[in-house]
Amino acid sequence: MQERDMVMFYKGDFSQKSMLPMLDIVEYNVGSGVSAGSMGRKAGHVLIELLQNVSKHSTLHGPEEKQGIFVIGRKGSRIYIECGNLVSTAERVFLEEKLEFLKGLSGEELREMHKAAMKASLKFESKHKSGLGLIEIAKASSEPIEFLFQTHGPDLHFFGVHVIL
């Protein structure tokens, strides 16, 4: 753990009920020891978006059983967040396409994309997958989002994502 300078490691239930109490701990743990005062909050925000966007795609075990892992750590003066869980093939296709596209965008392009997605969201039904959360994660990252998929079965894939703030 020291080698990778981990601040937090969590494996278990990814449901909202389990994650909400964790926010303050993340904010406190990440916030202490870094000069930028708002880094803890930023980490909490990105983590929530990751969990809500990623675990939203994790329908394999039913809503009551959203399992996953996340790691938060320091990399020099930066904070990294890694998150992983299982997704279906349809979810993999959606995530892969969105993330691959976002990877190639500059900070300015991401801000413009966010604006456009916000405007467009008003025209869609509330349940439309706008990808806003993924854009917000990309916007908050200082480097392009890294991700990987590992196939575990015909409709079962491990999805891992690595974000550096």
Partner: protein, 127 residues
Amino acid sequence: MSASTLYIPKTEETPEVCFDPEKGLYSIRGRSLPENAFQFYQPILDWVKIFAPHIQSAFVLELELDYFNSSSGRFLYELLSHLESNAKAKNYVTIRWFCEAEDELMLEKGEELSQLLDLQFEIHRTS
């Protein structure tokens, strides 16, 4: 126009909402992280849709959020768009966005929203 007061107490994942026409106080405060933001914001949107066309004097909406997820952001934008799209009301509407002085993230989110809207939008940094 008499509109009833809309009050929603805050929870661990949703903000306190107070829209009180009698006192002229309108605010949303706290964190907004519901998984189903539509369900939470629907009554607020309904209230604003009915009330907005009847705004005849200064309407100040105070937003003091310390966290909100992307889907809450989408509905906050929709809510403010309703105020904006009502031409008669627009001149009377002021949005006051409060964020902690060190909170760059909430400052940025306030600025982003203000750029999307043609409304008087004040950003106040609290200590």
